[in-house]
Amino acid sequence: MYNKKLNLVLLGLALVAPFVLYPVFLMKVLCFALFACAFNLLLGFAGMLSFGHAVFLGTGAYVTGYVMTTYGLTPELGILAGVVMSALVGLVYGKLAVRREGIYFAMVTLALAQLAFFFFLQTPLTGGEDGLQGIPRGKLFGLIDLTDNMTMYYFVLAVFIIGFLTIYRTIHSPFGQVMKAIRENEPRAISLGYKVNQYKLMAFVISATLAGLAGSTKALVFQLASLTDVHWFMSGEVVLMTLLGGMGTIWGPVLGAAAIVSMQNFLASGPLANYIHVLMGVVFVICVLAFRNGLVGELQKVIRKNSG
């Protein structure tokens, strides 16, 4: 009951937000929030730290950008193409990576991400350092023109909600329960007869697909896909968002993404521009040392204490 009310309030806020704040900024927050949620599905609910998740964001962005620019598809088809390709890459990479655990899993995903980065840098399809510029936003279903930022915002909000609900359903499904069981005690899950690797692969693919959705949407918002999206630094950034917001919580990554994107935005044009990385580093250190449950996790603790 409490949660339902909260969700309605949040939805209401999201609906009026673009009248108060700059819509492109809000869309950026939503895209990264979806990306972080997708990442969190893997780290927070399946206990797998991927250090190469930018690949899926970038694949979505590049593929959508490419088909929109070259074939002039409508945005929903462009996004579909990006998402399908991310899912496929996720399937291949997942097959290779889920057999390894812990630090080795992180390293394999990093290495695979570097291979993908090389591909995106070298292939003539992506424009190298220039990236894909001037991607048209197009007309949704051939009808609704997305050029206007307000219209685009509500479209992005809808995409975010779909992605978010998918994650929510996944976590609360029997599948999600098995994932948690594997995270807590893998040998036990195996002895109970679960095919652990298949479950992990499944989680990996879902996460990759949704990360791709975030990337595809982001490419339309900024009308640009560039190497920044596939760089390993982006993979680190999404870890930070999740950690800061609270991994393993539903709303944590959203809050974390909002916090980091706002921080970057406010600092970028000010005299502290050079301190963005320093501050991000400080946040990392503090989170790991003292604040491991993240913003939402700590909040939940406080609420639980007060109500109990």
């Binding site: 700059y22 492109v24 900024f25 190298g128 350092e129 220039d130 990236g131 510029q133 001037g134 609704i144 023109d145 050029t147 206007d148 930022n149 307000m150 219209t151 900024f222 009308q223 640009l224 560039s226 920044t228 999206d229 970028a268 044009s269 521009a273 050079n274």
Partner: protein
């Protein structure tokens, strides 16, 4: 849909009103400077470009027709995504009227697309790619200072004519480097030379040794550095370390004054290059440069920084003349008026957005020729604007050709 139509109609109305009554959007002229504050190009643009634009505004009196002129700036970190995001935000949120700068052709490509879509002018003072006035031209681009064609015509052509026939390229691996390499290759082949090989090095390469070795084993007469900034400096230093300079000539195709200053004269002395501006050319350039140096702790201006001043001044004069900051009217005026100042000689802004002006071929002085630390170039000859830049009809800029 309705909302869209309304907005479009409103925009059209405002535009018409602007033309008719000479009005200013949000009652001021706002100039955004996009630059590289900490990257490999920060010495040749960076704070210096911001200062140059501010200096133009100050020299203009800080206001135009009673409306204040405001300058804001941001760092693109040389990333196209950051550049285009800032440009978009400036237009949509900050009512910026014109952007000056945008460093690196990759960033500029993204920024000019955003600006052109919004019908706003970009004054391009630092980037080299000639795409902004050819294949990717726009009625809202004004390309100042120089471009890859003028560099190739100025530096490469005389060398090939002088018998240096075999060329090897070390090229910065993005738009600018590719453009410079392909244009220079065209000039080499047209004059009977050949390109025997090339490598592409990413922006900010830390070690050029393996590229230098490749160049060395190619047997080229000339190793052409189609990169710039600290990349060019490092490549040249590595070439000297591996003794390449004894066997082949190394030609820096785009050398900015601050980079030339950073190079050891023992390595770089005697190298010939092309520039759009040199601070110590005559009284006019010296007068301006002294004032600039006073604001910049004595650092000498690069052609990108001087071009930032010149283009801003030309823009502001046009705004004053037409009495509005509406882009189409201002651009039309800018293209009508000759560009004649300390920076530009025999200059004019062509239909396709190319600012054609006289270029200089210079030689880096040896240590014993230098009178002080800022005494870097000896001017060899002046290249007429018409000979240096691509002709309008060869550029293939669609909108400009259709106006012919």
């Amino acid at each position: 849909m309705k909302l869209m139509l309304k907005t479009a109609a409103a925009t059209a109305l405002i535009t018409v009103a602007g033309l008719a009554h000479g009005s200013f959007s949000d009652d001021k002229v706002k100039i955004g400077v996009l630059t590289d504050m900490g990257g490999v190009y920060s010495d040749i643009t960076g704070q210096g470009s911001i200062e140059a634009v501010q200096m133009a505004v100050d020299d203009f009196g800080g206001q135009v027709l009673g409306k204040p002129i405001e300058v804001i700036s941001a760092d693109t970190q040389l990333k196209p995504d950051i550049g285009s995001t800032i440009a978009r935000q400036w237009i949509e949120n900050e009512q910026v009227d014109v952007i000056n700068g945008a460093v690196a052709s990759s960033v500029t490509g993204a920024v000019t697309k955003v600006m052109s879509n919004a019908g706003k002018i970009t004054l391009i003072a630092a980037p080299a790619s000639h795409a902004f006035t050819t294949s990717a031209c726009s009625p809202y681009n004004a390309h100042w200072s120089y471009d890859v064609v003028s560099l190739a015509n100025g530096t490469v052509k005389p060398m090939v004519e002088g018998g240096k026939n075999k060329w090897f390229f070390i090229t910065a691996d993005y738009g600018f480097g590719h453009a410079l390499e392909s244009v220079a290759t065209g000039v080499i082949e047209a004059n009977g030379g050949e390109v025997v090989g090339g490598v592409r090095a990413p922006l900010g390469t830390s070690d050029f040794s393996s590229y230098i070795l490749q160049a060395q084993s190619s047997g080229a007469d000339v190793i052409a550095l189609a990169n710039t900034g600290s990349d060019m400096v490092n490549a040249l230093k590595t070439a000297a370390e591996f003794g390449v300079t004894e066997m082949a000539e190394v030609a820096g195709l785009l050398v900015f004054t601050p980079n030339a200053q950073a190079l050891d004269p023992a390595i770089a002395g005697g190298m010939k290059l092309t520039t759009g501006f040199y601070w110590d050319m005559d009284d006019q350039t010296r007068e301006w440069s002294k004032r600039y140096m006073a604001r910049m702790d004595g650092k000498i201006p690069s052609m990108a920084q001087a071009g930032a001043y010149s283009s801003t001044m030309h823009y502001l004069k046009a705004v004053e003349a037409v009495g509005t900051d509406e882009s189409d009217a201002v651009m039309a005026k800018m293209k009508e008026t000759p560009v004649e100042d300390f920076f530009s000689r025999n200059g004019y802004l062509r239909k396709d957005g190319r600012m054609v002006h006289d270029m200089l071929q210079v030689r880096i002085k040896n240590a014993d020729e230098r009178n002080n630390e800022n005494d870097i170039f000896a001017i060899e000859r002046v290249i007429k604007g018409e000979d240096a830049f691509l002709k309008l009809e060869d550029g293939g800029c669609a909108f400009a050709l259709s106006q012919e």
